[in-house]
């Protein structure tokens, strides 16, 4: 699966006074047809894409599907397979922020409503980058609730991951052969000196928190104490252990040059740049979860040389190949995003209207060198089996085949498996 994405972050900043909307600032609402043209021109069949949550989920079980209806109809007509991103760093005004305990259920109902309306959609990322979402919103004080304590962080994290799990459950009720592609930031913390080893170890445990909870993997013992000390109850923790849907998931992970950090003895961190790289860090995540892997986000800004992004693309692709050749089932790669973005150079914390030149196309929809390179890469490598075996292909039903007999049989089989799964799960919806 070669993919790109339409950047659709919607955090609120400045204590709720400003709503960031990347689809607005990058021109997608006006140019969505043209954007879909560009996706196809690159030779891509997969697109990370989602309706704007804050204007689609307009109240409790109230939805405005106007934009989603036209855009998803067009995706289906073009046979572009969307990996539907339902929540990207923000919630509607009426929900408030990620501290709201009602968010998981409201979001789960929304996910179900979406799945019922667009039954042909099979691939989902219910909540994008859960760990980053909780960290930037509730620990760094950048977005949404702008919390800065361990308790606000744990509260956001448990609500976000629960929302993701509940959304997966609801979507599976509608589409039992749905596949969930997580898109989680992959991180590593390097100790600067021996005194920094302990804080670095703690951070290297905490980086797994969102996926541990999502996949029902027992957290490290220090993390268990940390979660319970900061507001998670035993029942809440056991919900995650008892409702694992990991076997419906692809371990999608994101990697940027900012994902590795140096840790000082006092616990302060700073960016280290790329040291291990995508391959080594993903190997660590794979060793923990043993799920098929997809590189779901990467990019780098074009600089004065003009080929910085081209070289980064090639480096990331080489990492993916290394991983695959080492036997890790690697099913996809994504350059994120289709176009340049706005204000990501400051993590969306300020509204400067500054272009972040990381796209395959610029905001005038003129292709960048990295876009030309990606097109070539997709053409060259598209036919090469990603997992090195025809027995390890992802069972995807393209939009054009939805409803056909073979697809229906596939869905029926999946429903039977899901029924068995539900019957043998001890703790449902508790």
């Amino acid at each position: 699966m070669f993919a790109t994405g339409i950047e659709n972050s919607i955090p609120r900043i400045q204590h709720g006074r400003i709503r960031v909307d990347q689809m607005e600032s990058c021109g997608h609402y006006r140019r969505w047809r043209e954007d879909f043209d560009l996706v196809q021109d690159l030779g891509l069949s997969y697109l990370r894409y989602g309706p704007p949550l804050h204007t689609t989920l307009i109240g409790p079980e109230r939805y405005d599907w106007e934009f989603a209806d036209v855009t998803f109809a067009e995706l289906r007509r073009r046979n572009i397979i969307p990996i539907v991103d339902l929540c990207h760093f923000g919630v509607p005004d009426w929900i408030g922020d990620f501290q709201n305990p009602d968010f998981p259920e409201q979001f789960a109902r929304y996910a179900r409503a979406f799945a019922e309306r667009f039954r042909w959609v099979q691939l989902y990322t219910p909540v994008n980058e859960m760990f980053i979402c909780a960290q930037f919103s509730a620990k760094y004080g950048w977005w949404n609730e702008q919390g800065t304590t361990e308790r606000t962080f744990v509260t956001a994290l448990k609500h976000i991951v629960r929302a993701n799990v509940r959304a997966m459950q609801e979507i599976l009720e509608v589409r039992p052969d749905a596949i969930f592609v997580q898109s989680e930031s992959s991180e590593y913390f390097h100790a600067e000196n021996p005194a920094a080893i302990k804080p670095a170890e703690v951070m290297n445990s905490s980086r797994f928190l969102s996926l541990d909870l999502n996949y029902g993997h027992r957290v490290d013992s220090e993390m268990y104490e940390y979660l319970l000390d900061n507001g998670m109850t035993q029942d809440e923790y056991h919900f995650f252990l008892g409702n694992s849907l990991r076997h419906h998931c692809i371990l999608g992970n994101d990697y940027y040059w900012t994902n590795e950090h140096r840790v000082a003895a006092d616990g302060l961190t700073r960016a280290s740049g790329e040291i291990f790289g995508y391959c080594e860090i993903t190997r660590q995540y794979y060793a923990r979860y043993r799920l098929p892997v997809m590189h779901t986000e990467t990019n780098i800004a074009e600089g004065p040389s003009g080929d910085e992004a081209v070289n980064w693309l090639w480096k990331e692709w080489a990492n993916v190949l290394r991983l695959r050749n080492d036997g890790v089932p690697t099913v996809g790669f994504t350059w994120y995003s289709l176009t340049d973005q706005i204000d990501w150079d400051v993590g969306l914390r300020e509204q400067n209207n500054r272009v972040h030149p990381v796209g395959l196309y610029d905001l005038n929809r003129q292709i960048r060198p990295v876009g030309r390179s990606y097109k070539q890469l997709v053409s060259d490598w598209g036919a090469v089996l990603p997992t090195q075996s025809i027995c390890l292909t992802v069972p995807i039903v393209p939009p054009s085949e939805f409803g056909e007999q073979a697809a229906q049989r596939h869905a029926d089989d999946a429903r039977q498996l899901r029924d068995v799964e539900l019957a043998t799960t001890t703790d449902q919806m508790s």
Binding site: S305, G306, D307, N353, V355, S373
Partner: protein
Amino acid sequence: MTLSSYSDVFAISHDREHHEDIHAGDIVATGQNLYPQYEVVAVNGEKAWVRNVHSGVDGLALLSRCRKVAPEAFRHAAE
């Protein structure tokens, strides 16, 4: 031949392929896209010392890749 970049692998030429005189003070891009944009701080031989107009970060660019940004381009930028 030494491959200095994967641009060579992908056969991407970044050169502007037409003549332009680039001087200190000019606003340029180093490819065909509008952004990023740089102010030329100095020119020496085949290289230009450039400063990103947004971030203030300095870098060296090949002069042959620099294109003056037309004033009308500013109006369409980041619309």
